[in-house]
């Protein structure tokens, strides 16, 4: 695990709370405003996931798909993704930064060049939705050479063999997808999520972050009671789409993240 991510999870553990992992799509609604939005969200998060816009985001629901479309329409390039990551890093030396996206953009760039640029920009890990452990041959070496964690997903459909595989091939943390569905759908059953997360934690030392479908403070608090991290994506992206103007979006993001974080604290202390 990257030393920085290790410190993030250690800090959160000592504070008796789960890490808050916030997602935004880079370049949404355009590269300039995106920087301010990312900085506003990053100030309240332990880890930030920066989405690399892609023309065909197959695992995303309408909210994040629309964010990708807005970013691409505004002329966001992969270089912008690195610049934005770097800006977040400069402002937040100890935050975890994860790049998230689909295989084709880094593949076309070349994983070696991609990993080199990401490392330079201060990125800690990379989550490529459509590169399962079995296809790691195209990227694992390059990521490792540039000290980037390879974040792998597990889902309710993953049987034990796949849990072992992901824990062996992945690093940084396990991203547990709380539901069989796309981003932005309704969160799955909390008891089932808790059981599966406990099972993964019994197999591996790696922290487990839970995402997909977490929107309310109550949900974040409930998941934060047993997970090492709580990932919130569509709900943050919605703050951009639903506000009247940029200033309101910046403020709404910050307020939303603060509220989630506060709720996660209270629940842990109460429990």
């Amino acid at each position: 695990m990257s030393a920085r991510l290790a410190r993030v999870f250690k800090r959160c553990k000592e504070a008796h709370r789960a890490a808050l992992v916030g997602y935004l799509t880079a370049g949404d609604p355009n590269p300039e405003q995106s920087q301010e939005l990312l900085l506003s969200l990053a100030a309240e998060c332990d880890i930030i996931e920066i989405g690399m816009p892609f023309s065909d985001p197959m695992a995303d629901g309408p909210v994040i798909e629309a964010a990708s479309e807005r970013a691409l329409a505004a002329g966001t390039h992969i270089q912008d993704v690195f610049h934005l990551s770097q800006a977040v890093r400069l402002a937040n030396p100890e935050i975890g930064i994860i790049l998230m996206g689909y295989a084709n953009v880094p593949y076309v760039m070349g994983f070696e060049r991609f990993a080199e640029r990401a490392e330079k920009a201060g990125v800690d890990g990379v989550l490529i939705v459509d590169i399962p452990p079995e296809e790691g041959a195209i990227c694992d070496e390059a990521l490792k050479a540039h000290n980037l964690d390879r974040i792998l997903l597990l889902s309710p459909t993953s049987p034990d063999e796949r849990i072992h595989l992901a824990c062996a091939k992945g690093s940084g943390f396990i991203y547990y997808v709380s539901l069989t569905g796309i981003t932005g759908a309704e969160m799955g059953d909390i008891i089932e999520i808790q059981n599966k997360v406990a099972h993964i934690q019994s197999i591996s030392e790696m922290p487990v972050c839970v995402g997909f479908g977490i929107k309310t403070a109550a949900q974040a608090a409930a998941v934060g009671r047993f997970a090492d991290g709580v990932v919130v994506g569509s709900h943050f992206v919605n703050q951009i789409a639903s506000q009247q103007n940029h200033h309101q979006s910046v403020a709404a993001l910050s307020a939303t993240a603060m509220a989630l974080r506060a709720a996660m604290h209270r629940e842990i202390n109460a429990g």
């Binding site: 695992a59 295989a103 076309v108 459509d130 399962p132 997903l153 889902s155 459909t157």
Partner: protein, 412 residues
């Protein structure tokens, strides 16, 4: 395996991908984790079924008595004369039930779905032929059926939309992206992620994540195996050229694969050149694409310098796709596959030529193969043979064709 014998069909899996579904550097299983287990289960079910004589008995019985196979191999003498050159034979996939080759695959996958106890099937469709073939099998097996179709394609293939509805399928319009086939695949994948427990995704072409390229090929090789036996019987020899149009590659791999080890047979894939390859408005991923990863496989893609997938253009909805099956990509790199392309206009002309000379109205997709096939035949000797895959009939395209010919305006 000795009970797996048939006078016409061969069940041996040759030129198989590796265990991960890679055809050389192409193919593979680039899928989200949630879909990995469902895909592995389909792979297991496929290999088990393929080794089971009962599965083939059922499949071949349906292909014969429901679909109407074997389809004829027709010596098109007037088209041959018109082109001037090699003898042209048409593999009449247009005579299949539902009007295209697509049903070879949906029968196979439908049977797999039933074996796996799935109650619902979903599919993407471009021209609507795969959607109709899926809805047909769903009706026959009593399964619930949802079809994803780009709104743009719905407009240009309305008869097929209505046929699907008549068959009891729910046609779901897709507005995202370019509102064509690639976006319909995205939407079907999104739906499948959330429904895989009780739902089988009947993928429509020889692309997508492993095992689809393999199993779609195996279900379509009946085309080439029949054609091979038929030409040996009718002409006493193998063809010099076998040729098919390529959208994702299912009718092409179905015809061409059984000739793959006949090294004297030239194998030709015809892509949609749209307004012309130089205009950038086409769907020729093998000719103009670069390696990339989309919809679960590594293949040739029409994409920009940063890996964003480009919109495509073809007069035919079934060829309007920015990717292509991984096995064709490998065959091209190995030099076993030749490339050709036909523009919208050439396809329209070929459609009229075949209709006037032989009384056969081909699908616009197949018309691309006819156009290139006649062009190639014209460069060959009269004692040579070209087999063209006539992958579907043109009824679904009539409105679109009349519009392009300007007949709808002048009628009133």
């Amino acid at each position: 395996m000795s009970s797996l014998e048939h006078p016409l069909y061969n069940f041996e899996i040759t030129h198989a991908p590796d265990a991960g579904g890679h055809f050389g550097r192409f193919g593979g299983r680039f899928a989200a984790e949630t879909l990995m287990q469902p895909l592995l289960e389909i792979e297991q079910a496929f290999y088990a079924a393929w080794a089971d004589p009962e599965f083939h008995r059922e499949r071949l019985d349906l292909l014969k008595n429901y679909v109407g196979r074997a389809t004829p191999l027709y010596h098109a003498e007037r088209l041959t004369k018109l082109s001037g050159g090699a003898q042209i034979y048409l593999k009449r996939e247009d005579l299949n039930h539902t009007g295209a080759h697509k049903i070879n695959n949906t029968i196979g996958q439908g049977l797999l779905a039933r074996r796996m106890g799935k109650k619902r099937v979903i599919a993407e469709t471009g021209a609507g032929q795969h959607g109709v073939a899926t809805a047909t099998v769903a009706a026959m097996f009593g399964m619930q059926c949802d079809i994803f179709m780009g709104r743009e394609d719905m407009a240009r293939q309305m008869p097929n939309v209505l046929r699907m509805r008549l068959l009891g399928a729910n046609v779901i319009p897709v507005d995202s992206g370019t509102a064509t086939l690639k976006d319909a695949v995205n939407e079907a994948l999104r739906n499948w992620v959330a429904s895989c427990e009780d739902t089988f995704y009947i993928f429509g072409t020889a692309a997508g994540p492993h095992p689809y390229p393999l199993l779609v090929r195996q279900f379509h090789t009946v085309i080439g195996q029949e054609a091979r036996a038929q030409i040996l019987e009718q002409a006493g020899r193998l063809p010099d050229v076998a040729i098919a149009c390529v959208g994702g590659g299912s009718n092409a791999i179905g015809l061409l694969h059984p000739f793959r080890d006949d090294l004297d047979v030239r194998l030709v894939a015809v892509e949609a050149a749209g307004y012309g390859l130089k205009t950038g408005k086409h769907a020729a991923s093998l000719a103009a694409g670069k390696a990339g990863i989309l919809h679960g496989n590594l293949t040739y893609l029409l994409e920009d310098d940063e890996g964003q997938v480009l919109g495509t253009h073809s007069i035919s909805a079934g060829l309007d796709y920015p990717g292509v099956g991984p096995e064709l990509a490998l065959m091209l790199e190995e030099g076993r596959l030749e490339l050709d392309a036909a523009t919208d206009d050439e396809a329209l002309t070929a459609l009229q030529q075949l209709t006037r000379s032989e009384g056969i109205i081909p699908a616009l997709e197949s018309s691309h193969a006819i156009a290139a096939g006649c062009r190639i035949a014209a460069t060959m000797r009269e004692d040579q043979i070209v087999i063209i895959n006539l992958s579907g009939r043109g009824d679904k395209d009539m409105d679109n064709v009349f519009k392009h010919l300007g007949w709808l305006e002048e009628k009133q």
